[in-house]
């Protein structure tokens, strides 16, 4: 059984939350960049799918992240209808968002390669 990562957030645990928030924000941007405008549920569903069920987002984590990205101008949200004629709020990445995504990707690559190099050493 693979460990499950349920990214829940406590209102009081601020510092750890920042790191988790940052990670989630990048993942959301990546989804919206790769797949075009999506509504919240779709983003969560896709993330769960890609991670083979490891990432299970609850609303209390996902939607603040979407609001934060919107407040920073990286995505823009508008109400629209789904294919099943349901009203939903769709989010699309902006130019600034794309730039941010590129920056974050580069940073992650760097972090990962450093960690790899360091952790390899221990073996």
């Amino acid at each position: 059984m693979e460990p499950e990562y349920s990214i829940g957030m406590s209102n009081r645990d601020n510092r750890k939350a920042d790191i988790l928030q940052g990670t989630l924000d990048v993942m959301v941007l990546q989804m919206l960049n790769a797949l075009g405008p999506l509504h919240g549920y779709a983003v969560a569903a896709r993330l769960e799918q890609i991670s083979s069920g490891a990432l299970r987002l609850n609303m209390g984590t996902l939607y603040p992240s979407l609001m934060r990205l919107e407040q920073r101008g990286f995505i823009r949200g508008d109400w629209d209808v789904t294919e099943n004629n349901r009203k939903a709020r769709f989010y699309a990445i902006t130019a600034a968002g794309r730039r941010q995504l590129t920056r974050q990707k580069d940073e992650w690559d760097r972090t990962v390669s450093i960690m790899r190099a360091v952790l390899r050493e221990q073996d």
Partner: protein, 905 residues
């Protein structure tokens, strides 16, 4: 950058609530439904699908809360929620809120008002460039208790020549000298006015660094110490006078009649230009008669100057001290020179003082004392409010318990209490500012000259900041009281075995009892201080001034150009005769100096058959009084030997003087002063020294230099005999009529002598006297008011706490009564508890008062700071007041019906 943007959106989110709750809820509701649909697709029933969805994606309400935190600024949201909740709960208890606001309003208002005085009088720098460099030079006659006195002209010129510390040194004269009253008659068009004047030399204007707004300053030719009698006919007007009297019309180069003489207006000063708080309207050039300009013992000039850059006050004083060691040698003069250690009455020394200190004078200390006093009043008010707040918190115990059960943290509840306290204190603060503005306005109206620099008083930015600061500090202080109470109780509970004690434990009241003790102590300190000052004013008032103050009316008049000394005397004589003949006036006289507060006119006087300590046949006489008419009888000054002047004296060939007791004892101890001869130094009035005069009488001492100072030696000369008179004289009338009733007839009588001369400062002698002690009176009035307020607040506080204790213990008391305790023993028990607190407070207060009173020691007269009578009286009064405060709760306690109590609980 992005973070900033986020922060900005969040701020907007708090203020404008973008993306309303409904919108966000709808989005998340949709999310839930999609998740439920997923479940249904996988085969679950509708119900199961919904439940699974909720479990998987989390609850709606928690998500909403997370969203709200992201949308706004959580701390701001919480703050606004706290404030709204506090306002609601305050509204629910209007009586408490009203009392709190009123107490705070009064306390903060009083503090703000006094601080605005502190600000205007002490903190505000003088309105000149680099005012810290300005210093005043004063003379000190320690034997007669005159400090901050004037210098003679030769001294001034010598110091100016010899010193190295000053960049510029200048001189000025204002009123209360023999020559000037500090006011001049001014003709604006055809309107005669009385304007406040100052006479300066060019160097003084340079020292303070003032530049005229129009025209020019005086030049050196216009200043003279060698005139034939009058100063140069030029003047500079103040901006305010120019606007008010001349309508701001172009005036420079024009001519205005001042004291009957046309003066050329050479300049107009910028607005708010003044020197030493003189409220100057007309600036005149210094001009002294040659006789005075060369006279070492005629002290007529005030000196002020600007230090050179880099010279400190200490080094300037050190230089002065060095000069004082051998002034005579350095200046190449002998005679009346300043010394570093004056020994005898005649001698004086010189002192430097920063100009700011010279302007503020002793008022500075009084103002600080008031600030401390009013601070104590506020602290007492805070103690009362703290008690009220604790009681309120206790009564809301259930509400807090429920909220804690629902998840509110303890800090959150404390924050709630603190928010309420701060709202009250800021609200009270705003009320206080409004009250302070009114109070300041009233003080300035009622006592315009009692405090220096008071004309500049206003509620400005620094005063508002002060009000805000003490509002916040006050709020925090009494807002923390319930928390402190709780902490103390928890501590006490933890220290004892087991959990909750019954309601009757005294431990629950630690903080409250402490507050009562503190309140009473502070009230005691204030009331003792006020008591000492009240006794001081009473003592000052009862000082025997040496003349009969009752039924005396006085005014002053000036006979300027074209009068000469020899035409003035007959004019004054005519006036005295008319006044004596007038209905309602028993007696009248005219004199040069108005007791009880005159500037000394020290002058070396030749005395026959006498040698002083230096072996010379002269002595320095402190005061000269020139009189016309029956002065001693009118003033009610008894003669201890010989006789007063009589009308027949002017026609006799001999010349006569009267001396006072102090002089007789100093010069002719053991001998008979009658028949001795002296040569009065008539130069003090601007006349040539006269021939030998014979002493015909010795008068009882009259207070000259203020009621709290010793009397100096005094010589009375009769101008009827001499036939000359100085320009300004004081008129005194013995009458049963009031100044108001007399005003018109007096003006008419004066106009019969000269129609162009106005009557100035018409008042009765009692108000002259009151004015001479107006500073202690104002301080005492204010301090007395604060002490009463403190006493009232402390009494109310004691009553409140005791009532509360009784209410808390009523169950316990009911049991006692049911078990057979008499009502009187219950009464005694409660009274004892209350009085224990009071006595503790009184003891602490007395100790504190004895320490604090050292601060006011210098202002007391006729009473010691450790005066036992005052302390005892105050202690008794406060104990009595507290006993009254305790009486009602104790009585109520004794009247409790145990059946009612026990049934209810």
């Amino acid at each position: 950058m992005d973070a900033l943007r986020e922060w900005w959106r969040r701020l907007l989110g708090t203020l404008t609530r973008r993306r309303h709750d409904q919108d966000i809820e709808a989005e998340m509701q949709a999310h839930l439904e999609l998740a439920a649909e997923e479940g249904r697709r996988r085969g679950l029933s509708s119900e199961q699908a919904e439940r699974a969805a909720r479990l998987q994606v989390g609850g709606l309400s928690q998500a909403m809360e997370a969203m709200r935190d992201q949308r706004g600024l959580p701390w701001l949201d919480e703050l606004s929620r706290d404030i709204r909740h506090a306002l609601r709960s305050l509204r629910r208890t209007p009586l408490f809120t009203a009392i709190a606001l009123l107490t705070l309003g009064l306390g903060i208002g009083a503090n703000t008002a006094i601080f605005s005085i502190v600000n205007a009088v002490i903190l505000r720098p003088l309105p000149y460039s680099n005012p810290g460099r300005l210093m005043n030079l004063t003379a000190e006659f320690s034997a007669v208790g005159r400090t901050e006195d004037t210098l003679s002209i030769p001294e001034y010129l010598e110091f100016r020549r010899m010193n190295q510390s000053f960049q510029t040194l200048g001189a000025y004269t204002t009123g209360a000298d023999v020559y000037t009253t500090g006011e001049v008659n001014l003709l604006a068009g055809d309107r005669p006015l009385r304007a406040r004047s100052i006479s300066v030399d060019r160097q003084l204007l340079d020292a303070i660094g003032v530049q005229p707004a129009q025209g020019r300053l005086f030049n050196d030719q216009e200043i003279s110490f060698e005139t034939r009698g009058l100063a140069a006919p030029v003047a500079i007007l103040s901006h305010e006078l120019w606007q008010a009297a001349f309508g701001g019309q172009p005036l420079v180069g024009g001519s205005v009649k001042i004291d009957g003489r046309p003066h050329e207006i050479v300049g107009i000063m910028p607005p708010a230009t003044d020197l030493m708080d003189n409220r100057t309207e007309v600036w005149l050039p210094l001009g002294f008669h040659r006789e005075i300009g060369r006279n070492r013992s005629m002290h007529v000039l005030h000196i002020a100057g600007r230090l050179k850059d880099g010279v400190t006050e200490d080094s300037a004083q050190a230089e002065l001290n060095a000069l004082l060691e051998n002034w005579g040698e350095r200046a190449g003069v002998s005679g009346h020179v300043p010394k570093s250690h004056p020994e005898r009455t005649a001698e004086h020394t010189l002192r430097l003082r920063p100009m700011h200190a010279a302007v503020v004078g002793t008022a500075g200390r009084s103002v600080w004392i008031l600030q401390v006093a009013v601070g104590l009043v506020l602290l007492i008010g805070c103690a009362n409010l703290a008690n009220l707040l604790i009681a309120r918190t206790e009564s809301r115990r259930r509400e807090f318990a429920v909220r804690t059960a629902l998840g509110a943290g303890r800090t959150r509840l404390m924050r709630q209490t603190l928010t309420e306290a701060l709202i009250l204190s800021v609200g009270g603060g705003m009320l206080g500012i409004w009250l302070a503005a009114a109070a300041v306005h009233a003080i300035v109206l009622a006592y315009p000259t009692s405090v220096p620099r008071i004309s500049g008083i206003s509620i400005d930015v620094s005063v508002l900041l002060f009000a805000l600061a003490i509002s916040v500090v006050t709020g925090v202080l009494f807002g923390l009281a319930p928390i402190a109470q709780k902490q103390t109780n928890d501590l006490m509970t933890a220290l004892k075995q087991g959990g909750e004690r019954s309601n009757s434990s005294g431990g629950r009241h630690h903080v409250r009892s402490l507050l009562v003790v503190a309140e009473v102590a502070m009230a005691v300190m204030l009331v003792v201080g006020a008591g000492l000052l009240i006794r001081t004013v009473y003592n000052l008032n009862s000082v025997n001034t040496g003349f009969d103050r009752s039924r005396l009316v006085t005014f002053s008049i000036t006979l300027p150009e074209p009068y000469d000394p020899d035409t003035r005397a007959p004019a004054y004589q005519r006036l005295v005769d008319k006044l004596r003949a007038a209905p309602g006036i028993q007696n009248a006289a005219i004199m040069s100096g108005l007791p009880p507060d005159r500037r000394p006119t020290p002058a070396n006087t030749a005395i026959e058959n006498y040698t002083n300590a230096d072996g010379r046949p002269i002595e320095l006489i402190d005061y000269y009084q020139a009189v016309i008419g029956d002065y001693f009888a009118t003033m009610g000054i008894p003669l201890v030997a010989g006789r007063a002047f009589e009308p027949g004296d002017s026609s006799s060939s001999g010349r006569f003087v009267v001396v006072n007791e102090t002089l007789a004892n100093r010069i002719w101890k053991g001998q008979n002063p009658i028949g001795q001869r002296i040569r009065p130094a008539l130069g003090v009035f601007g006349f040539a020294n006269g021939p030998w005069h014979t002493v015909i009488g010795v008068a009882k001492d009259v207070k000259q230099g203020g009621v709290e100072n010793q009397t100096g030696s005094e010589v009375y000369v009769s101008l009827d005999q001499i036939g000359l008179a100085p320009p300004t004289m004081n008129v005194v009338l013995r009458t049963t009529l009031t100044p108001a009733t007399l005003s018109q007839s007096l003006q008419r009588l004066v106009s019969e002598v000269d129609p162009a001369v106005p009557i100035v400062r018409l008042r009765d002698m009692d108000s002259v006297f009151a004015e001479s002690i107006r500073r202690p009176r104002l301080l005492t009035t204010l301090l007395g008011g604060f002490a009463c307020l403190a006493l009232l607040l402390a009494t109310i506080g004691t009553y409140g706490v005791l009532s509360y204790i009784v209410a808390e213990r009523r169950h316990d008391i009911g049991v006692r009564i049911a078990l057979g305790a008499g009502r009187s023993s219950v009464f005694a028990m409660v009274m004892k508890q209350g009085m224990q607190l009071t006595v503790a407070g009184v003891v602490v207060g007395v100790i504190g008062a004895l320490g604090l009173n050292q601060l006011i020691a210098s202002m007391l007269f006729g009473v010691e700071p450790t005066d036992a009578t005052t302390v005892a009286a105050v202690s008794a009064t406060i104990t009595l007041a507290a006993a009254i405060a305790c009486w009602l709760p104790a009585w109520r306690a004794s009247r409790l019906d145990p059946m009612v109590l026990l049934k209810h609980d």
